[in-house]
Amino acid sequence: MNESVVVYRGFRYLKVATLLCLLAIVLYAFHTPIGQPNGGSWLGYGLGGIGAAIILWLMWFGVRKRRYKPGKVKLEEWLSAHVYLGLALIIIATLHSGFQFGWNVHTLAYVLMMVVILSGSFGLYAYVRYPRLMTENRRGQTLDGIFTQIADLDRECRDVAMRLGDEVNDAVLAAAQRTRVGGGLVRQLSGRNPNCPTLAALKLMQKLAAGPRHDDAGVRKLVQLLAKKDDLLGQARRDVQLLAMMQVWLFIHVPFTFALIAALVAHVFSVFFYW
C-alpha cells in the first residue's frame, strides 16, 4: 500500500550514500599521503570530519523523532536517510582509519560505531520483517481479545475441574492463576515459557486421559480446553515476542550511541592535543 523506508522515493538515500562512498573510495585510491595512509592527512581529516558530522546528525534523529514541529519533511524520509548514511559510515570511517587498528581510544570509537551500526541493521531487519508477522499472528484479533478468550477458557476449565478431584483441580487452578504472558526481557524475546503451568496442566490431563482416567469425559474436555488455551497463549506470547524484537535492539543502539559520542570526543581531543 505504501513505500517502506528501504525503497523510499526510489532509493534516493541509497543513491546519495553510494555516491558518497564511491567518492571516498576514489579519493582514497588516488591519494598518496606521506608514509602510511592515516587520519592525519588532508583526506583523513576530510573523511573524519564528514564521518563525525554524519554521526552527530544520526544522533539528532532521536530528538527529531520527538519534535513534532511543523514542516514538509516526513520522519520516514529522515529514517530512510538515517539508515543509508549510517551504513555509509562503514566505508567512510574505515577509510578514515587507514586500516590502522590497535588497543587505543581511536579503535574503541570505531568498534562502538560498528556496534551501533550492526544493531541498527538488525533494527531495520526487524522493522521490515516483523510487522507483517505480527498482523498475521493476530489473525484479526486484538491482544485484549485474546486475553479475554483466555480468561473465558480459564473459567470454563475451573467449572469442569471442580468435580474431578484435587490433583486435577490444583493443576487447573495453577494454570488459571499462575500462567504469565511476557515477563522479563529474555522471556519476552523467547516467545515461550517452558515452565508454563498451563502446559503442565495440559500434559497432566493428556497423561490421565491416556491412562488411568481414559473414560472420564471431564478430563477429556479439559484436554481440549487447555490445548486451546495453550494455542492462544502461544499466539499471545508470539505477539509479545515480536513487539519486543522490534524494540530490544534500541537498548543497544541508543546506549552505544552515547558511548560512541563519548569515545568520539576522546578520540578527537587526543588527536588534536596529544598528537
Binding site: 500500500m1 505504501n2 513505500e3 517502506s4 523506508v5 523510499y8 532521536g62 530528538v63 523523532k65 520527538r66 519534535r67 513534532y68 511543523p70 514542516g71 514538509k72 519533511v73 516526513k74 520522519l75 520516514e76 529522515w78 529514517l79 526487524a126 522493522y127 516483523y130 510487522p131 507483517r132 505480527m134 498482523t135 493476530r138 484479526g140 486484538t142 481479545g145 479475554t148 480468561a151 473465558d152 473459567r155 513487539l243 522490534m246
Partner: protein, 798 residues
C-alpha cells in the same frame, strides 16, 4: 373556581424564567409552572460543576435575570435568588398535561387534575421531554438514578443499567471499567443503538465484561437487589446502584395536542412561530429550544420579548445590533430595508416569515464583491449557499477554459451542489459586476430545507438540472436537458439499500447527488465488489446502452440520494447528441474493462467491501495504517497529542484490520458530518481544505460525541503543561512525549478551570506540512487517503 392569570408560563428553563421575571417586573399577573421541584431542570441536570457558556458572545442579554458564563451551581443559585427578589409567582411540581381553549380563555390542566385559566399561554418546555421512570415498586429508592454524570466516580460497585439505547450502552460500557455491571434489555437484541455502540456492547458481553439479561424487565427494586422478570421466571441481581436509561418522551405529542402544527413529520422539525413568537394557535406562544433557539441567552431574550409583545409593546429584537453589524458593508440602509430588499429580490427566501429571515441572516454573511472578484474556486471545500441580491456572477464550468461560463442573475442562487453532495466545489464563481451576495451557512440552510417546504421545492427544481448538466452532460446546452430533467425523481436510499439488482430490467439511470454506492456482481455464488462510485457520478447507463438486463447490483454504501432519470429520456438525449453519446460510451467501455479486471482481482473487491463496512465510504479523508509497515511505536499518537494540547485524537490500536489495512479510531471528516447535526452553538465547521473541526465556541454539551457513529470525539479538558522535551531526554523529567493517560485522572483542576470540551482530529489544518500523525510515522505506515481515489483498482489491486 380556578385561579386566573393574564399569562401562564409553562416551563422554568431560561426562557420561561426570563418571561416570568419580565411579567413580574411589569406587574403582569402571571404564573410560572414547573413540573420539577426546582427551576430550570435542563440546566439542573448538567454535570456537576459544568462550565456553562454564554454563547453567542456578541448577542446582548436582555432579561430581568442575570446570566453570564459560569459554573452551573452559581447560575442556578443566582436564578433561585432572583426568583425570590423579583417575586415571581412560581409553582413547582406542576406538570402541565393539557392546554385547551383560545386566546383570552385558556384552560391549563395539571397532572393532579387541577386547572387554572389564563389569557395567554407561553410554552417554554424545551426539548428534553419527559424522562421515563422505572414503572416498578422501589423506583423511588435513593440508589435508583436516571442519569450518570461521571462514570469514573464509581468504583467496585455492582451496578445494573436498565435500557438498550445509546445512553444505556455508553453508561454500561464506561462503568464496566471499574465496576461489575449488568445490563437489562427488554428485547432480544440492541436494535436501537448506533453501530459503534452496538459493537461495543456486543464485544463487552462476549468478553464477559458486562453481563446481559435479554428479554427481561425489572419487577421491583430493593435495598440491595433488583428483581427481574425474565423469560424463565424471576431472577435476582445484586446491585448497589440502578441506572435506568429508558429515554424520554419527546414533547411533540403534547405540543400537538395543544393544537400546534409541525411543518413536517421529520422528527427534527419544530413548530413554526410568527415574528412575535406566536404559534398557529392565537394567544399561545412558543419560546426557547422548542421554538428552534437552542442556546440559553437566546431563550432568555425571547422570554423578555414575548411578554413585551403580549403587553402590546414593540421591541426592537435583541439581534438588531448584530444584524446592523452584518450589514455594515452596505451604505446607509436600515436593517429593515435590507431585509425587505432580500425578500423582494430573492424568490427562494421570499416566503420566509420575518423571524426566520432574521435568524437566517444572523447565520449569513453579506458580501459585496467588485467586478472580477472570485467568490469561490473549484475544489474549495466550502458547503455554504449563496443567493444573489443584486448584480450578476459567472460560473466557470470548464476547468480548462475560463471563457466557458454560465451567467446567474439577481434572485438566483448557487453553491447548492457542494451543500447537497458535501463535496468540494465543482466550479469557480466570479462576480461579473459589482454585486451583493448573501452567503448562508450549511447548517442554517439544511434546517431551512427541512422546515420550509417552498425552499426545498425551489432548490430541488433547479439543482436537478444543474446536477445533470455538471455530472452527465457538461457540453450540452441546458435547454436540451429540461425534458429529461422533468422526468427525474429524487430518491433516497439507506446505507446498504439496493438501487437495482443484477438481472433487473434497466429502466433508469441514477445520478448520485449525495452519498456513494458500490457495484457488485454475483460470481460463484458470492457477491464480489467491483467498484465504489462516489457522488457526482452516474450508474445504471450500461443496461440502457446494451439494451440488456442489469449486469450488476448497485447498493448504497452510506445514506445516499440520487436523481433517478427515466431510461427512455436518457436514451433520447443520447440519440439527439452524438458528442454526448461518444462520451458516455467511452466511460462505459472504461467501466467494462475495470469490472473485468476487478473480477480477476477479488482481493481488491474484498478490501473495498471491508472499508465500506467501516464507514469509509462517507469519509473524505481517513487515516489508514498499513500494518505490514507499522512497528507499533505509537509515535503517531504521540505526535497528535503533542500538537493538540496534550490529547491524542486518534487511537491506533483500536479498530479492525483486514489484509494488513488497519482502520484506527480517528475522524474520517465525513461528507455530511454527523457530529455537526446537533451542535447548539454551531461550533463544528468544515475548513477550506475539508477538515471538520470544532472551534472555541463549543459549550461542552456532548451532542457531537453522541452523534458521531465512529466514536472519535472525546470530552476532555486540557491536561497540565509538561516539562520540555530536553528535560525529559536528558534528565528524565515529566512523562515524555505523547498523551499520558495517567494524567486524565489527576487534572481535575483544569476540568474545573476550563470545563470539558469536545476534542477531535482537525487534520492538523493549521500546521504546515499537514497531519502530524503521518509526518511522525517513522516507517510510512500511516497514510491519509481520500476514498474517492483510494477505493479503486489502481490503488488496491496489487
Amino acid at each position: 373556581m380556578a385561579d386566573h392569570f393574564t399569562v401562564a408560563i409553562i416551563g422554568s428553563g431560561p426562557g420561561g424564567l426570563s418571561a416570568a421575571g419580565r411579567a413580574a417586573a411589569a406587574g403582569v399577573s402571571h404564573i410560572l409552572l414547573e413540573r420539577c421541584d426546582h427551576a430550570s431542570d435542563t440546566i439542573y441536570k448538567y454535570q456537576k460543576g459544568k462550565l456553562v457558556m454564554a454563547t453567542p458572545d456578541v448577542l446582548p442579554l436582555r432579561s430581568d435575570f442575570d446570566f453570564k458564563m459560569g459554573i452551573r451551581e452559581d447560575i442556578l443559585g443566582t436564578w433561585d435568588r432572583q426568583l425570590e427578589e423579583h417575586k415571581v409567582n412560581i409553582r413547582y411540581g406542576a406538570e402541565v398535561v393539557a392546554i385547551a381553549g383560545q386566546k383570552g380563555a385558556f384552560t391549563v390542566t395539571l397532572q393532579d387534575k387541577s386547572t387554572l385559566t389564563a389569557e395567554y399561554v407561553i410554552l417554554a418546555i424545551g426539548l428534553q421531554g419527559n424522562i421515563n421512570k422505572l414503572p416498578v415498586p422501589g423506583a423511588e429508592l435513593p440508589h435508583v438514578q436516571y442519569q450518570l454524570d461521571d462514570p469514573d466516580e464509581y468504583e467496585g460497585e455492582h451496578i445494573v443499567v436498565v435500557g438498550a439505547g445509546d445512553a444505556a450502552i455508553e453508561n454500561a460500557v464506561a462503568l464496566a471499567k471499574q465496576n461489575s455491571v449488568t445490563i437489562v434489555n427488554r428485547s432480544g437484541e440492541f436494535a436501537r443503538a448506533k453501530q459503534g455502540n452496538l459493537d461495543l456492547i456486543r464485544a463487552a458481553i462476549e468478553k464477559n465484561q458486562i453481563e446481559c439479561y435479554y428479554n427481561s424487565s425489572p419487577a421491583r427494586v430493593t435495598e440491595k437487589t433488583l428483581v427481574l422478570r425474565t423469560a424463565d421466571g424471576e431472577a435476582e441481581v445484586r446491585c448497589d446502584r440502578v441506572i435506568a436509561r429508558l429515554g424520554a418522551t419527546a414533547p411533540r405529542k403534547f405540543v400537538e395536542a395543544c393544537g400546534i402544527v409541525f411543518p413536517s413529520p421529520d422528527p427534527k422539525a419544530l413548530p413554526e412561530v410568527s415574528s412575535t413568537y406566536e404559534s398557529n394557535v392565537p394567544g399561545l406562544y412558543i419560546i426557547g429550544a422548542l421554538g428552534g433557539y437552542p442556546l440559553i441567552k437566546q431563550a432568555m431574550n425571547q422570554g423578555y420579548e414575548v411578554i413585551e409583545f403580549i403587553r402590546g409593546n414593540k421591541v426592537e429584537p435583541a439581534d438588531e445590533p448584530l444584524l446592523k453589524e452584518r450589514f455594515k458593508g452596505l451604505a446607509d440602509v436600515t436593517v429593515e430595508q435590507v431585509l425587505a430588499t432580500i425578500r423582494a429580490n430573492v424568490p427562494i427566501f421570499s416566503e420566509l416569515n420575518p423571524l426566520v429571515l432574521r435568524e437566517l441572516m444572523l447565520d449569513s454573511i453579506v458580501h459585496t464583491p467588485k467586478k472580477g472578484d472570485i467568490i469561490f474556486r473549484r475544489n474549495d471545500y466550502s458547503n455554504s449557499f449563496y443567493t444573489i441580491v443584486q448584480g450578476e456572477v459567472e460560473v466557470r464550468v470548464n476547468p480548462l477554459d475560463d471563457s466557458e461560463v454560465v451567467v446567474l442573475r439577481q434572485g438566483e442562487f448557487f453553491g447548492e451542489m457542494g451543500l447537497i453532495a458535501g463535496r468540494r466545489r465543482t466550479a469557480t464563481v466570479v462576480a461579473r459586476q459589482d454585486a451583493i451576495l448573501v452567503e448562508t451557512q450549511r447548517r442554517t440552510m439544511l434546517k431551512l430545507i427541512a422546515s420550509v417546504a417552498s425552499v426545498k421545492r425551489q432548490m430541488d427544481a433547479i439543482a436537478i438540472v444543474r446536477q445533470i448538466q455538471t455530472y452527465i452532460a457538461p457540453h450540452t446546452p441546458v435547454e436540451r436537458l429540461y425534458d429529461m430533467a422533468s422526468t427525474a425523481k429524487l430518491r433516497r436510499f439507506k446505507a446498504g439499500e439496493i438501487l437495482f439488482s443484477q438481472g433487473d430490467a434497466g429502466d433508469s439511470v441514477h445520478l448520485i447527488r449525495s452519498g456513494s454506492v458500490t457495484v457488485s456482481r454475483r460470481i460463484g455464488g458470492r457477491d464480489v465488489v467491483l467498484s465504489y462510485v462516489a457522488s457526482g457520478n452516474y450508474v445504471g447507463e450500461m443496461a440502457l446502452l446494451t439494451n440488456a438486463p442489469r449486469s450488476a447490483t448497485v447498493r448504497a454504501a452510506v445514506a445516499t440520494e440520487t436523481v433517478a432519470i427515466d431510461g427512455k429520456a436518457f436514451v433520447d438525449l443520447l440519440g439527439s447528441d452524438p458528442a454526448l453519446r461518444t462520451e458516455v460510451e467511452a466511460k462505459f467501455r472504461d467501466r467494462l474493462e475495470i469490472n473485468e479486471r476487478m473480477e480477476r482481482a477479488p482481493e481488491a473487491g474484498s478490501i473495498i467491501q471491508f472499508l465500506i463496512e467501516q464507514g469509509v465510504g462517507e469519509a473524505t479523508d481517513v487515516l489508514l495504517i498499513d500494518e505490514s509497515l507499522c512497528v507499533r511505536c505509537d509515535n503517531c499518537e504521540k505526535a497528535c497529542a503533542e500538537t493538540h494540547h496534550g490529547i491524542s485524537r486518534l487511537d491506533r490500536e483500536a479498530g479492525p484490520t483486514f489484509a494488513s489495512i488497519h482502520v484506527p479510531t480517528s475522524c474520517r471528516h465525513c461528507e455530511h458530518p454527523h457530529c455537526m447535526a446537533d451542535c447548539p452553538p454551531d461550533a463544528i465547521h468544515r475548513a477550506p481544505n475539508g477538515e471538520v473541526y470544532i472551534d472555541d465556541s463549543c459549550i461542552g454539551c456532548g451532542n457531537c460525541q453522541r452523534n458521531c457513529p465512529y466514536g472519535v470525539i472525546q470530552m476532555a479538558a486540557p491536561p497540565p503543561d509538561k516539562p520540555g522535551l530536553f528535560s525529559w531526554l536528558l534528565f528524565g523529567l515529566g512523562y515524555g512525549p505523547g498523551e499520558d493517560k495517567r494524567l486524565r485522572k489527576v487534572h481535575h483542576e483544569n476540568v474545573d478551570k476550563y470545563g470539558k470540551h469536545a476534542v477531535k482530529c482537525d487534520m492538523c489544518k493549521d500546521i504546515e506540512g499537514g497531519a502530524a500523525c503521518v509526518r511522525a510515522c517513522p516507517t510510512g505506515a500511516a497514510i491519509r487517503v481520500d476514498p474517492k481515489q483510494f477505493l479503486s483498482l489502481a490503488k488496491l489491486g496489487t
